[in-house]
């Protein structure tokens, strides 16, 4: 029974590999293999390559000087950040908000089986993200360290401990969110705030640990120095990776104990949380003044309501917008200092700053990608839009506008802040503005294009759409490539050609895919939507 549930959960997470939502049928075996290979190559080739390179730059020197434990500590820290960051935003909805909760609870299935299958979803998501760091870390260590049974076992045990820690942190935070938001009226906003507070706390702890490590490295004179105080537990954790037997046993035992405690907590509360519909008191309707809106505004408000009603969407996509707004404010406050620092370090770099500003905004805004699932998100209520007297092009346009509200406006605010503090010329400001807007529209178009080509209306958990879908992954990847191109051009071309010329070239280059996508969305987009 548990096996069946786990298979169902895995199928839900990985449905895209086996089922072609656009054609409405299962992929062929060949197609599935090709698809998985493509995905693995992207994950391993891009992210794995990136972290493999990082591991390669550290492992030989550190292992050679007896600081292998520090190597594991740093790489483990990165894996922990990536794993928690990757899974925590969807934990609450994965654990407690699945649409098939009632169905499963009505079946003769032990509650613990349902919980374990849900936990497996959280575990696999965290594993996927942390593995892209942990696998290269282990491989590089095997290459650098002399072979022995303990050095063989160490990275494996260390990886298991880190993956379990990611799982513990994510599920514990998911549980806190569930408990606190149970009696809140506006659950999505509260969930978002609590999760963000949790993340902030987590990062404070993380950076404090990082500072401790940095101070330790700055004061290090010999690998044989005694390690005490705050460094001691970190040292023990790092030693697990090197295959030290006692730390392996102690750290693993501690992790397993915490895991058992968290599982106990979850198992005691799971049923109550899942079956508590709302803790908010019932609001009795009182007729008030009616606001009449036009069709466009009504559709826009509907899209905004959909986004703000989901903590999963807010946490996964809204974070980029918040970072951009905070960035703009920070730039207004500390921009002059930053400008002086940059010019002191690199000389006159006005042009580069303009290009890099565009690159930074593109990097952050690409994480928003609301259009990459906005059509799929309609799910079974798609009939409402399809039967209303609204043109399909207007529906698609509103979805794009909604995305741009979350990317374009914060992006423009950042450009304004940069213009006020970074001493940019008028032409550079204008071109940066154009490039940023163009970049945001391009990503919105691309997301919409991908979602129209690969629509999935039969989801049971929106996390699968917002976080785990190939649509979002492809849009994110394209965004990173685009932002990477801007940053590379800023670093290498701008000093030679000047920022203005580079901004102009980039605008012209990105205008080409934009025009192609705009034409496709105008000509074939409505038909694609209507065929759903």
């Amino acid at each position: 029974m548990l096996k069946t549930l786990l298979r169902k959960q895995m199928l839900e997470i990985n449905r895209g590999f086996f089922y072609d939502a656009r054609k409405g049928k299962n992929r062929t075996k060949k197609g599935t293999i090709l698809y998985i290979t493509f995905y693995v190559l992207l994950m391993v080739g891009y992210l794995g390559g990136l972290f493999g390179f990082l591991a390669h730059t550290m492992v030989f020197a550190m292992e050679g000087s007896g600081l292998g434990w520090l190597y594991f500590l740093i790489m483990g820290g990165i894996a922990l950040v990536l794993g928690v960051f990757g899974s925590v935003f969807s934990t609450y909805s994965t654990l407690y908000m699945s649409k098939d909760n009632d169905l499963l609870l009505s079946m003769p299935i032990p509650i613990r089986y349902i919980l374990v299958s849900r936990l497996m979803g959280v575990f696999v998501t965290g594993l996927m993200y942390s593995a892209v760091v942990l696998i290269p870390t282990a491989i590089m260590y095997y290459i650098a360290a002399p072979f022995s049974i303990t050095t063989l076992l160490g990275p494996i045990v260390f990886s298991i401990d880190v993956v379990l820690l990611v799982f513990i942190l994510s599920t514990a935070l998911g549980w806190v969110v569930a408990k606190i938001s149970a009696r809140m009226k506006n659950k999505s906003i509260m969930t978002t705030v609590i999760a963000l507070a949790g993340i902030a706390l987590y990062y404070v702890v993380y950076f404090k640990a990082f500072n401790t490590i940095r101070e330790f490295i700055a004061n290090i004179t010999s690998a044989d120095i005694s390690i005490t105080g705050a460094m001691a537990p970190l040292y023990w954790i790092g030693r697990v990776g090197c295959g030290a037997v006692l730390p392996m046993l102690v750290v693993t035992c501690v992790v397993v104990l915490i895991l058992v405690g968290v599982y106990f907590l979850l198992s005691k509360t799971f049923l109550k949380i899942v079956t508590t519909k709302t803790g908010a008191s019932k609001v009795k309707y009182k007729e008030g003044k009616t606001k009449v809106r036009g069709t466009g505004k009504a559709l826009l408000m509907k899209e905004l309501k959909r986004i703000t009603s989901s903590s999963t969407i807010l946490l996964n996509c809204g974070l980029g917008s918040i970072i951009m707004i905070i960035g703009a404010v920070a730039l207004l406050i500390k921009g002059s200092y930053l400008y002086e620092l940059l010019t002191y370090a690199f000389g006159p770099i006005h042009g580069t700053i303009a290009v890099m500003t565009a690159g930074a905004i593109s990097t952050i805004s690409s994480t928003v990608s609301l259009t990459a699932f906005s059509v799929s998100l309609e799910g079974k209520s798609l009939w409402i839009l399809r039967t209303m007297p609204v043109s399909t092009s207007q529906i698609l346009r509103v979805k794009k506008v909604t995305d741009l509200l979350f990317t374009g406006i914060p992006g423009i605010l950042l450009v304004i802040a940069a213009a006020l503090t970074m001493h940019l010329g008028a032409v550079d400001i204008l071109l940066t503005f154009v490039l940023v807007v163009l970049s945001c529209v391009l990503m919105a178009d691309l997301g919409l294009f991908i979602d129209l080509r690969r629509t999935n209306l039969n989801w049971t958990n929106e996390t699968a759409l917002v976080k785990q879908s190939l649509n979002v992954f492809l849009t994110l990847l394209a965004g990173w490539i685009e932002a990477g191109l801007i940053i590379v051009a800023g670093l290498f071309l701008a000093p030679k050609l000047g920022g203005t010329a580079v901004l102009g070239i980039l605008t012209a280059v990105f205008a080409i895919p934009l025009v192609i996508l705009e034409l496709w969305l105008a000509k074939k987009g409505p038909a694609a939507f209507e065929s759903l």
Binding site: K277, T278, K282, V283, K284, Y285, K286, E287, T290, K291, V292, R293, G294, T295, K297, A298, L299, M301, K302, K305, R306, S309, S310, G379, K380, S381, W383, I384, R386, T387, M388, P389, V390, S391, E530, S531
Partner: protein, 241 residues
């Protein structure tokens, strides 16, 4: 009001609706019956403008759904068999959204919401999120939203499923009132007693083909609709009865 002529819809090689022709005039409640998978929902979705079709024509008030989809949709309303509404809105927000899209004035929507929500005893729940509604409450909300812009034609797929007896009675009254005021209703149902009592005309579909249609008297004669339906269903060798 609604004219379906030679409608054919295929899913790959499977013919879901085969050369179906029907005429629904103003003032008529038209029942559409058939076994599961007969092609009722496909026909209804094609009329509602959700599904495209391979050949034939659907006209609403003389306008082709293919050529003038928006004008046709303005004149009609559709209620699916399973009302998956916008769960993230409250009932009143959903109704206001529908009213905004159809351009219903503030006065008209207030009056209609008050009238129908009171009739269905849903008024107190309108501030609650739709995801807290029962199936029946969602069905009531879908019905209110369909009546909100005073459509000339209402298309419904199994509208009585999930409704309590009182709500079903109110819906029947609303259907009759709309048709008495010149509107038309085309709906599918498996509840043959309801169809027999409520409908002016009825059509029976089997394997995508229309096998009998006409006024209730023409279709059932001296027998009951249930008997006629079962007889037609049993006659598998020759669907062209």
């Amino acid at each position: 009001m609604l004219s379906i002529s030679h409608l054919t819809k295929k899913y790959g090689e499977t013919v879901a609706v085969d050369d179906l022709t029907l005429e629904i005039a103003n003032g008529e409640i038209y029942g559409f019956i058939g076994h599961n998978g007969a092609g009722k929902t496909t026909t209804i979705k094609a009329v509602a403008g959700i599904l495209g079709f391979d050949s034939g024509e659907i006209r609403i008030g003389g306008l082709s759904i293919k050529d003038n989809p928006l004008e046709c949709k303005k004149r009609m309303a559709y209620i699916p068999d399973n009302p998956d509404l916008f769960d993230y809105m409250s009932g009143i927000k959903y109704l206001n959204f529908v009213a905004d899209v159809y351009g219903v004035s503030a006065e008209d929507r207030q009056e209609r919401i008050r009238k129908y929500a009171d009739a269905f005893e849903l008024t107190d729940n309108l501030a609650q999120p739709v995801n807290e509604y029962s199936h029946g409450m969602k069905q009531k909300l879908a019905i209110i939203s369909a009546w909100l812009h005073k459509p000339e034609l209402i298309i419904m797929d199994e509208p009585f499923v999930g409704l309590d007896p009182k709500a079903a009675h109110i819906l029947k009254q609303m259907m009759r009132e709309l048709c008495d005021n010149g509107g038309a209703i085309f709906f599918s149902t498996h509840v043959l007693e309801v169809a027999e009592k409520l409908c002016d005309k009825v059509a029976i579909i089997k394997s995508g083909k229309l096998i009998k249609s006409g006024t209730m008297e023409e279709v059932k004669g001296d027998s009951s609709l249930e008997n006629v339906f079962l007889e037609l269903e049993e006659n598998k060798e020759d669907p062209e009865v």
